[in-house]
């Protein structure tokens, strides 16, 4: 029987929400890693039992957790399930060292700080885990300060793909309000060497050689709040989405503006259209309709909550420009939550389900492509991320 598993990362732990294909009756498991910040968790497309988790703490730093049984049990990669803790030598599953080697690395340079001065690169945490489309043991990690890491041994060890940090524009990259995180990683299913990433606030980049070299793909983005609004670097890209059957078409929620590219990011054009506000964080694409998009408009960069206290998803069935509000089942008043950049996902069942989580601890689900919504849970800690696994 088909079903879905919704992976929810929160400020105080991880939760796994499960349902059959009807998506009406839900089982809630968790909290896992209670008390820790879970920035992101995501399952492997090649093995749905394999799930990677970014677990982090201001006190104890970064950890990586993994499940090989669909979220029932967890372990730090390198310490096998049931194994005594004495394993030695330990596998450094939580060591994210910038590669400064002469062979494959780049010098550890500086980036722009909030006040415009230069600041050294410092690892802080993993924002996003992106498992390979084909190999459960291969996974990418987007980190703060912005860099891309790769593991080919199931998360037991990591090495930096230093060509991105060494792009040469690093001194112009600067942190967004939440830090200088690499938050979006998109793998092209038609070309294993092509990958897209996005950084707040540097912009979007693409590699066509498996991560060795990178090209900034920000032409057409316009950000009036930076010194050169049309600069190649410095745009606060909040999230990017792609339909796997059309890997050259990208949709972006920038700080302000919904943007679209039809040429793999070479050129962007604005498709905010009739949205009441085009500030926001999330953006996603319907599983079966590549021109159907979802965003959650947020009032402004100074007021991170929905307009007029009404939580609404907006849907475009035309690839942008024309948007319709979706409100059935969502709060109609007194709602002042935010929806963070990695907190929306779609399932791939015949009737596409759409999910998003809020900083107020609600996770909403729509089993009918956004027409109607209901909360799966209402009182979790602030939701950082939502991912969905479609189980056959």
């Amino acid at each position: 029987m088909s079903g879905v598993r919704v992976l929810v990362g929160t400020k105080k732990g991880a939760f796994v929400l499960s349902a059959d294909g009807k998506r009406k009756n839900w089982t809630v498991d968790g909290p896992f890693f209670a008390g820790w910040e879970i920035y992101h968790m995501k399952g492997s497309p090649a093995d749905p039992n394999r799930i990677y988790v970014s677990q982090t703490s201001g006190w104890f730093g970064q950890l990586v957790q993994r499940s090989d049984d669909g979220g029932k049990t967890w372990f730090q990669p390198g310490v096998a399930p049931g194994e005594e803790a004495q394993s030695w030598p330990p596998k450094p599953s939580n060591r994210f060292a910038y590669d400064t080697s002469a062979e494959s690395g780049r010098p550890l340079t500086t980036h722009q700080w909030y006040d415009g001065t230069q600041h050294p690169w410092e690892f802080k945490r993993v924002w996003h885990m992106e498992p390979s489309l084909t190999d459960p043991n291969t996974v990418y990690a987007g980190v703060e300060d912005a860099a891309l890491f790769k593991s080919t041994d199931g998360g037991e060890s990591w090495h930096e793909l230093a060509g991105l940090r060494g792009h040469g524009t690093g001194p112009q990259w600067q942190p967004g309000a939440g830090g200088m995180g690499l938050h979006t990683i998109i793998l092209d299913p038609s070309n294993s060497d092509r990958m897209y990433i996005a950084i707040s606030a540097a912009g979007a980049f693409r590699t066509d050689d498996g991560g060795q070299s990178w090209k900034a793909i920000n032409r057409g983005l316009r950000s009036p709040y930076i010194p050169d609004p049309n600069a190649e670097i410095g745009h606060c890209v909040h999230h990017v989405a792609m339909h796997p059957q059309r890997p050259g078409v990208l949709f972006m929620q920038k700080h302000w503006d919904i943007m679209r590219s039809d040429d793999a990011g070479e050129n962007w054009r604005e498709v905010s259209g009739n949205l009441p506000t085009d500030f926001g964080f999330v953006i996603d694409v319907h599983a079966h309709e590549p021109e159907t998009l979802y965003v959650v408009p947020i009032k402004s960069d100074s007021e991170h909550f929905p307009l007029d206290g009404k939580l609404r998803v907006y849907r475009s069935r035309s690839g942008g420009q024309e948007w319709e509000p979706l409100a059935k089942g969502l709060p109609e008043k007194d709602c002042y939550v935010n929806v963070l950049r990695d907190a929306m996902a779609v399932d791939r069942l015949d009737d596409c389900g759409v999910y998003f989580g809020t900083t107020g601890g609600q996770v909403y689900a729509s089993p009918d492509g956004g027409d109607t919504w209901s909360p799966i849970v209402s009182n979790l800690p602030a939701v950082y991320s939502v991912e969905v696994q479609t189980l056959k």
């Binding site: 803790a85 004495q86 394993s87 060591r95």
Partner: protein, 97 residues
Amino acid sequence: MRVALPYHLRNLAQVGGEVTLEVTGAVTIRSVLDALEARYPMLRGTIREYETGQRRPFLRFFACAEDWSLAAVDEPLPKAVAAGQEPFLVIGAIAGG
């Protein structure tokens, strides 16, 4: 000798209370943490930074009611700690709030 860990690190190491360790040679902050990480490899990187070996900034070390957070890591800890009469404390740097 004995080490008392904060709640989250006890969970991570899958231990209930204090940890008992055998430390060879001088009992110092460095040798205690080396032994702790050898016994519980899941704690590597959580108390001291991988790259620098430095104590993570929001953690503090105490022994025999004294603050050892800023002490040299190779300085011998008090005899009562080395003998296991008193624990070496790893504490999250929050007193309340």
